[in-house]
Symmetry: C2
Subunit: 257 residues, 2 copies
């Protein structure tokens, strides 16, 4: 484990539309900013630029809500078409709530990818125009791996890529970024067999490495600042055939579903 | 918001015992390491060194378990004396579970300070000897403020201090550090009134700034490495009269209690 590390954000990326080559745009921006990547660098990339360039979006004016969506929309005062999109992304609605002081409530959903999050990660912020909803990429691990391969080929070194989204948490206020797609970067660092500073086995300790990185990226990734790519430099980590599934608690081990 | 930042860990801190002057030890270690602190630096400090120096510990051989503890201990196969200590730290047990493949189960508790966490944060790892349990500090915000004041006086600049603990999460595997005590550092950055990159109000976005820092500290704070103090440099943050309560969701807004 190193004694220090640094993070910086890649400035100057353009807005993205369906069909844009995100990896090439990132490479071009590194070149235009006179920056590079070195072996061991990890990039945390906000999923919105991945989703937009992949066309993972929905448009309210193209949605016809189902009866289920119309009924559920009433309980949380949401546009039934938005609820229809949320349902299309979900395997299950975990909680539905609108507080009296809220105009619009929240649907806590289990996304079909497995994450539990507000409104199945269907998001209006940073959409290009009203009525556009940004969804999660179809396969965030695949997106991360493809991006990583192109970047590794260009920069000639081993890299890691994390695709992140911003999630709320039970019990605690405020949001943090979490890892929803992984390339090379371990999701969890299993420390089984290691010992604490006093020789006691660390049998339960397993730092959520990719989520630590994602959360840290939020320190430089301001939604209003168009800085969706954050680079971590100086960490020592084992290249792993990882997946965002590595961070998901199994249903039968979960106490809060 | 800056474009880059750095983190380093303070090496060379001693082990701590009740009565040790943690702040002075940190200052002495900065001096011996030929390092300093500059205005705006934020220190994330693992609560264990705070708890140990404050004597926030329990000793199994001094505990007589209650009937309630004895009964609860059976359901999770824990030492009834440890359960007694957990109950003494808790306002409520939220969940109790032992999976068939586990030797010892877990009690998810609402700590009397308000946090919801495993075993009311009662911890055996990094205890000095078997039978010692490390508790949370009596008032982590107060501990953070007192530490911060001493450090600010010595280094002659405004600083921030976060006391952290390592928590598991519902739904996601692995642990991350979270902020349980705050001095000067905002818990949540409220962005009400700000706009996203496309001029849409960011009405719900509120990054959990102190938790982002705590989680990031885990990248350099290895349990086995005796590095309980991590310094963040280069961030731009508003000095705030903050409290760890700023990160706690109100009971009536919580869907998972």
């Amino acid at each position: 484990m190193p004694d220090s590390m640094s993070m910086f954000r890649l400035m100057g990326l353009p807005d993205f539309q369906e069909g844009d080559d995100l990896a090439q745009n990132i490479i071009d921006t590194f070149i235009s900013q006179k920056q590079t990547l070195v072996a061991g660098d990890i990039l945390v990339i906000a999923h919105k630029v991945v989703s937009k360039s992949e066309g993972a979006c929905a448009y309210l004016d193209q949605v016809t809500p189902s009866e289920e969506a119309i009924e559920l929309a009433k309980t949380v005062n949401k546009d039934p078409r938005k609820v229809e999109v949320i349902l299309s992304q979900s395997s299950r609605i975990v909680r539905a709530m609108k507080r009296p002081d809220q105009d619009e409530g929240v649907l806590i959903a289990e996304h079909k990818h497995g994450y539990i999050c507000a409104n199945a990660a269907v998001d209006e912020s940073n959409a290009d125009h009203p009525g556009q909803l940004i969804l999660l990429p179809e396969d965030p691990d695949k997106s991360a791996r493809e991006l990583c391969l192109v970047l590794e080929k260009h920069f000639g070194c081993e890299l890691g890529v994390i695709i992140s989204d911003t999630f709320g948490r039970p019990w605690r206020l405020g949001q943090t970024n979490v890892a929803i797609g992984l390339a090379n970067v371990p999701g969890v660092m299993h420390m089984l067999g290691e010992e604490d500073a006093f020789g006691r086995p660390l049998s339960v300790t397993a730092p959520a490495f990719a989520d630590e990185l994602a959360a840290a990226s939020g320190l430089l990734m301001e939604k209003s600042a168009k800085s969706p790519v954050i680079v971590f430099r100086g960490l020592d980590w084992p290249k792993t055939n990882s997946s965002s599934k590595d961070l998901m608690r199994a249903h039968n081990e979960d106490l809060f579903r």
